[in-house]
Amino acid sequence: MSSISFGGLLRRPEAGAALGLIAVLIFFAIFGGITFLKPGGMASWLNVAANLGVIAIPLGLLMIAGELDISVGAMVPFGAMTVAVISGHYGLPIWLGVAMALTFGVIVGLVNGFLVIKTAVPSLIVTLGSLFAVQGIVLGLTVLITKSTSVALATEGPAKLIFGDFVLGGQLQVMVLWWLALTALYVFFVHFSPFGNWIFAMGGDKVSARNAGIPTDRLTMILFVLSSTSAAFVGMCQAILYNSAQVAGGQSFIFNSIIAVVVGGVLLTGGFGSVVGIFLGTITFAVVTQGIYYTDFDRNWSSLIIGILLLAAVLMNNTFRKMALSYAPKKGGKA
């Protein structure tokens, strides 16, 4: 921004997300006190935000590029089960389990991307298919191999420290550090490096982007690989953290990450949004789901708040986008 002004801030894609977060913080400060902003309370929602955020950012980038990936809901248990079966059930080295979990993430992402490029079927349908297919594989193979739907995994040493431990006094998951570092990386690549522009161009007008020389197919593949590998990574880290993996669970990530992305100001039709916005949207989501425990309300009410927040976000985002579009520099002020 050439000048920092209130109007200028409102035109940014993360404006709605920032306002939403402030509203939510005030709400919970009034009804639950500020315990959730003290270190102990913060850990509870930071942990939720971190696990969600690592998936929400690449998913949000896909949405900016005009695509969607709901197979992340199956990739979380897939990543968890892979490391648990290889390193827990078979007792092979943990690093092999880690490598295989990430490899499967890459493979499913490549398959998703390939199908979306080659068939021109909407990515919602393609990844709905891979969501069920991967769920089937995870359940089928796990029961076949281990005769159980839950597999234990004991990890020690550096792998535990890096992927699934508590840090800073024992309440904060190491995932929080991953989340912060990855967010910084994404911010650089999306908003500062020249390549970030390509994602927005692709979501704005794919044909024009391709004609302008942007490798849209390759970019689509990369984004799908990023989202499914990130989901597998989160699942793998959770298995290492909790010393076990379940075949079920993970579906909540689908809706939760889409909510975080939309609350974060990403336009559902693509072409508009920001990493910082998704970051704020993720925190907002986590504060609502965890902050409710610090109030006298029943926790079920948090769904109501999230529903309202989502609708408000979509409406606000439309308003902010119109403001951004109609922005023209003031004529009167100039000599």
Partner: protein, 272 residues
């Protein structure tokens, strides 16, 4: 006389059993505006899609600078200097002027993996390129393209094509959705592009717009070149009639005049 920058020699195009273009021969020269006229469905868009690599001719040849070329895709065409600007500018509504100007060729500063997009430079170059075309109202590269008027968007797209070295500029109905003032802007920019030595192919339904900038006119009727003439060789009425595929426009005008004469000078009311 110089060789034409681009020429079509006996080009035919059919989509399966449907013949859309028949034996089209056309030339576009540097510093000249070729106006492609014709009724809806005459094949104008199909023709320029062949020139810009979107479609392949079923038979016939495309020449550039006197040499046969194939344009397998839009990339290949734009690498040879053929740029197409579509009705709505073909740009990205939610991107800033600077960013959309440089899509795919973003300027960067810094080094190695730490290269960052150079917003200042992108904005400055983009704004200057548009202003050089006389659109001085665009002075902030951070504005979103979607916030510009239709004429400004067209101008931005044309300025972009020229900046990146286009030699043949193809404009598909650039003035169709514009008001009089906006259209005048675009026509002025077409003239400016021509002055800079580009070959311009200009599609329009408005004979007035064509006559304002055209040096050379080709009328398509059902996929064939029905007339090919130079500036000043035909009157507006003749061109209008040709476009409508015969004398129908003149008779329509006579009909309206007759109506007005018998109704005290009032034109017919449009149907409710």
């Amino acid at each position: 006389m110089t060789a034409p920058i681009m020429a079509l020699r006996g080009v035919n195009k059919s989509f399966g059993p449907i013949d859309v273009l028949h034996d089209i021969t056309l030339e576009v020269r540097a510093g000249e505006v070729l106006c492609l006229l014709g009724d809806n469905g005459a094949g104008k868009s199909t023709l320029i899609k062949i020139m810009s690599g979107v479609f392949q001719p079923s038979s016939g040849a495309i020449e550039m600078d006197g040499v046969n070329v194939t344009l397998p895709n839009p990339r290949a065409a734009s690498e040879k200097g053929v740029a197409t600007v579509h009705q709505f500018g073909g740009t990205f509504p939610l991107m800033s002027i600077g960013r959309s100007f440089f899509v795919g060729v973003e300027p960067a500063k810094g080094w190695g993996p730490f290269k960052v997009y150079d917003r200042k430079r992108a904005n400055a170059i983009a704004v200057k390129a548009v202003q050089d075309f006389g659109i001085t109202r665009i002075d902030d590269g951070d504005r979103l393209v979607g916030g510009l008027s239709g004429g400004e968007r067209q101008s931005l797209a044309i300025a972009r094509a020229v900046h990146f070295g286009a030699r043949v500029l193809i404009l598909d109905e650039p003035t169709a959705a514009l008001g009089v003032k906006q259209a005048t802007h675009v026509l002025r920019i077409v003239n400016e592009a021509k002055k800079r030595g580009l070959a311009v192919v200009f599609i329009t339904h408005q004979v007035m717009h064509a006559m304002a900038v055209g040096d050379h006119f080709a009328v398509l009727i059902r996929g064939a070149v029905a007339a090919d003439f130079k500036k000043g060789e035909k009157t507006r009425e003749e061109i209008t009639d040709l476009m409508a595929g015969g004398a129908s426009m003149a008779s329509l005008e006579a009909e309206i005049e007759g109506y007005m004469a018998s109704h005290g000078g009032h034109p017919p009311q449009p149907a409710e």
